[in-house]
Symmetry: C2
Subunit: 486 residues, 2 copies
């Protein structure tokens, strides 16, 4: 899609979804009485993305009618914004002749994304109808791996030659302005299509008309490869405040560009993925969580839950194996959730900051070892601070200073361990080339639970069972033990 310029429907303050709803209702009313001229008038000043949402909200049979009422140019830009279900519906309802032009004129990157979702048979048909050139481009884009620069890029850009003058170049820009994704970043290539320089329309507009492109362009070009991960592409554009970044193949040949609007969606998608991972929800096509059916929802959540339940069986085993000490002081059980919860929360905090730090690259200045060390110290510090709250409570509720001591000592060990693990696992995963968010917060929480419960019950056993026995054996039970256990 091309950059918008700011045109929109009447309202000044923006309530996107309200707007689309209003348009939908008006559209429905007009279509049902067959007042097609009113529909055209209604939709004319509305932004393509809002028209697309309104059409998507209509009943299936009305969608095709509304879509037919759009002008050719409108139809093309609206179609790119429709959700996949509506796109497919229109493909099946409208005559292939009507859709052929839309397909032909779509941005190559949007078209590739649509084709990915369609059945192979339909794709073959559509590809056959495309002009040889567009067919080649689409097949090429579909050949790149998902979530790489190759898949994200568009092949519509303006390439200039070094020996053209600024005047000639401006003329090319003028002629190509209508059918290219951006005219604001311009690329200079040699006869082998190798990228040799770059300039902005700003440079071109301010240059003397007779200067050669060679003298206006910048030779130090920052580019990405077709197989560069989409998140890295996004970070590059974000860091340098680019409007677009060129994509080259192994031979340095320019094959496409990625524009800033696509990059915003990537950043959003990656953030959703990190958040979902932290919340133990499987990543999917994140946009559709609230429109997917209950079984899809359950499927995306049940796998993680099952893993976590099985992990918590180990906690149960640890408790069952230490039944003896619990039988002796039943109140010890009262602190298991407290310790597990606090450990889990500290671990979650550490993994959250580390996973986010890896995403935004703010952790790289520190190095992994130092980062883990810092978190371990933070965990210990937090443990000590929490002891101030927890030890008096445990002493009082557990009716013994030894219970308070057991809970306090375990708390310190657990928070330190949790912070260390919470920082170390995502970093380790990242080192191994895996997604650090896989080593997600709930997983660390659950691991902390098992280890924490074991530490706690063993500490309690030693202080409440073994220590008194030792004291008795040493013959000092009568003096100290009652005081400690009272």
């Amino acid at each position: 899609m091309t950059e918008g310029t700011g045109q929109a429907t009447a309202g000044v303050t923006v309530e996107h979804h309200l707007l689309a709803e209003v348009v939908t209702r008006q559209l429905e009313a007009m279509l049902s009485v067959g007042n097609y001229d009113a529909v055209k008038l209604l939709l004319e000043p509305v932004q393509p993305v809002d028209v697309a949402e309104a059409i998507g909200n209509l009943r299936q049979n009305l969608q095709a009618i509304a879509f037919r009422l759009l002008s050719k140019d409108e139809a093309i830009s609206v179609y790119e914004y429709l959700d996949t279900v509506t796109q497919q519906n229109l493909l099946s309802l409208l005559r292939s002749g009507e859709m052929q032009e839309v397909m032909e004129e779509m941005s190559p990157d949007d078209r590739a994304r649509l084709f990915e979702e369609l059945p192979a048979k339909v794709v073959r048909q559509l590809l056959d109808q495309l002009s040889p050139e567009e067919r080649k481009v689409t097949a090429e884009l579909l050949g790149y791996e998902a979530e790489t620069a190759g898949r994200l890029m568009t092949t519509e850009y303006i390439a200039l030659k070094e020996n053209q003058t600024a005047l000639e170049a401006l003329d090319i820009v003028r002629r190509r302005a209508r059918d290219t994704e951006t005219i604001y970043s311009l690329y200079v290539t040699d006869n082998e299509r190798r990228l040799t320089g770059i300039l902005s329309l700003r440079d071109l507009v301010t240059a003397d008309p007779h200067t050669l492109i060679r003298d206006v362009m910048t030779e130090e070009v920052l580019s990405v490869r077709t197989n560069t991960d989409q998140e890295k592409v996004a970070r590059t554009i974000q860091r340098y405040d680019f409007l677009a970044v060129p994509v080259v193949d192994l031979e340095q040949r320019l094959v496409g560009i990625v524009t800033v609007d696509d990059v915003i969606d990537v950043i959003e998608q990656e953030a959703t993925r990190d958040l979902y991972a932290a919340g133990a929800v499987q990543a999917g096509d994140e946009d559709d969580y609230f429109s997917s059916n209950l079984f899809t929802v359950a499927r995306r959540r049940v796998v993680w839950l099952a893993v976590l339940v099985v992990a918590s069986f180990f906690t149960s085993e640890v408790i069952a194996a230490n039944e003896e000490v619990l039988q002796k002081v039943v109140l010890l059980a009262a602190f298991i959730p407290l310790l597990g919860g606090t450990g889990g929360n500290v671990g979650a905090q550490s993994s959250t900051v580390v996973i986010r730090g890896l995403s935004t690259q703010s952790i790289s200045a520190l190095g992994p070892l130092k980062a883990v060390g810092r978190e371990a110290m933070a965990g210990a510090l937090l443990g000590i601070l929490m002891m101030i709250l927890v030890v008096p409570f445990a002493w009082w509720r557990g009716e013994s200073p030894l219970v308070g001591l057991s809970v306090g000592m375990s708390l310190l060990a657990i928070t330190t361990l949790a912070a260390t693990a919470g920082a170390a696992f995502p970093l380790l995963f990242d080192r191994m080339g895996l997604d650090p968010a896989l080593m997600s917060t709930p997983f660390i929480t659950t691991c902390t639970d098992v280890a924490g419960t074991l530490i706690y019950l063993k500490t309690a056993e030693w202080l409440l069972v073994n220590l008194p026995q030792l004291l008795t054996a040493a013959g000092i039970s009568t003096q100290i033990a009652p005081v400690l256990l009272s």
Copy 2:
């Protein structure tokens, strides 16, 4: 800052932080032997953001020397990218005369952000040195509330008049190109500075030179107000694929524009905030987590931890109050973490998808009541699925079908409750105008823990204590009770 065009340092594949590190080391070596010409050569082809990072990595006294070696234009753009600490350091080390020009030429929005961080005395001094015009602009920007369009916008944009020709307009664009934030979105205002239309440089370049702006521009302008929340501004630019959005005051007067590069940072910042809330870490200036000292780190984490610890005291109380049933069947304690954990995870999943759905506005199509209803059903469904795993395990480990039954029934109740609460609380907070992320995942987890433990122990008490008593009283204990309890 103005949009970059893609110029960069030599390397083609991008490893941003590695690059800055290499530059830093070279810079240090050259500065320490006083080879200043080499420094100039080294930095010349490097992007401002990379130069800024390299200078930020230097020792304090070297920072000023390196900064002085930059050309005036370079110094201005590099300064905007420096972190606040380095900016302040340079302000104090360099003569005020040297910095005056940098301050004068900075983008108004970047300057306002810097002034916010400086001590009031320094700000007053710097303001005094600015030209009256820049001083007015800065004071104005500082007057808007943080995180609104007013604070995010720049006042450097190109405004045209309706009765200018395309040729005249292009000439204005050419002249203003060097000192304005973007030349790609152009704004049309009347004599009262009211925004009457908008056009893109693309429109201007392709228009007939003698056409009036009035006939090229679009009158339906989508704009935001100075007090519009920054997240809403970001969503507008993202939704419509804009490069910039105009900001107007209550009288529809154009006061500034927000550009896409600032919006990317807002989207990133909001995502970090959501993630931190989910991980019980207090939001701050998110970028600096890994560069802040241990006590700042602890402060940002301890408040949430303390709240959660106090909440978990209630769980302890619930367990202590039900000591009796635990004394009877100690193994019941083994399932407390399992039930609490599963409930917590289901609640976390629900709050994650709802909080994210509110952020990306993907939940709005569904409406709050339906969303909660869906989550409740999903919770019940997940509870039933988990029972398949958990009931046999509890039966075997608890050595009684009644333990299995208690655990299974509680599990279903807990997952349903957790999913409902996890969805309802963020939505309620959003309704009340509060940040839904405040009703964060760990809070819901902890609440679920208290309620879940109570449900479990009461169910177990009824099935394992009350039911056998009832059966005995009815005189059927000899036939059924032993079978159930064996």
